[in-house]
Subunit: 165 residues, 2 copies
């Protein structure tokens, strides 16, 4: 089964959410998402004033697929891959930028948000989030780093469980 | 067999080429192409200072494919399709904008060209070229509109050909 490449929870999740919220407010965008390269939504926020969001899961999947598909084009131009994509429709714009190796920041905005402003605050968010993701390390490392306290707590919890049987 | 959706030759081709040349000079970009939605290169120009270009045919095919593939994403966001795409790598950027219904303007630039400048002169080119394409009409109309002089010239040419036999 395919699983998200980053495990985002607890304090790290709260920090990412706060960063996305700040992006929403300052750049006046509709939706902001942290997506991994497989297309999983790791965190997402919506502006209060934004209309009912489209299916963000499907959008994330299509964006991750599209980002992967453009790598052939990037290679023809002598680039490893594109780290920034802008799709602009009549009213709605889509801004995608990579975060570390594993993540993509996806911002959906309308004509009330100038693209320069979106990019500026998106880059600020990316700086905050990429630091966080790098400190998290891979899924394996975080699982392995549970510490001594956890072992004691877990064993106490198991004892309690079996007492009741 | 798949054929280009626009027949570009003679005066129209010269005007498109002149418009692309102006774009190259004013925006300081490497390559500029007029591509149809099927991926055919209708006209292309390269800056004198630009390195040997990558295979523009392959790039055109991938870009047309990518533009078509993003239409599902556009529809999820309530747009018919995206009329503007920017792909940015470490050094090389790619700017694609639609011209009328049938064409795409593709601009490839490096870090010497600010994106704002590229967009500005690309939009000027698009205005010139879209007027031209609309006046050309579809392939059928241009073929049908050959006029009386052509018939006389053609018959004279055929007479000459058969005289020599």
């Amino acid at each position: 089964m395919i699983e998200p490449s980053i495990a985002l929870y607890g304090e790290a999740f709260a920090k990412v959410t706060a960063s996305l919220d700040e992006l929403l407010t300052k750049a006046h965008v509709r939706y902001a998402m942290l997506v991994d390269r497989k297309g999983f939504v790791l965190a997402h926020r919506e502006a209060l004033w934004a209309p009912k969001p489209p299916t963000l899961d499907s959008i994330a999947t299509l964006i991750a697929g599209n980002a992967a598909a453009t790598s052939a084009l990037a290679k023809l131009l002598g680039e490893r891959r594109f780290n920034e994509l802008v799709h602009q429709g009549e009213r709605i714009g889509l801004y995608v930028e990579e975060i570390s190796n594993e993540g993509l920041l996806v911002v959906i905005f309308d004509e009330t948000a100038p693209i320069g402003r979106v990019k500026l605050f998106a880059k600020k968010s990316i700086e905050e989030i990429s630091g966080l993701i790098d400190s998290l390390g891979s899924v394996e490392t975080t699982n392995a780093d549970l510490g001594n306290d956890f072992a004691l707590d877990a064993s106490a919890l198991l004892d309690d469980l079996f007492k009741g049987m």
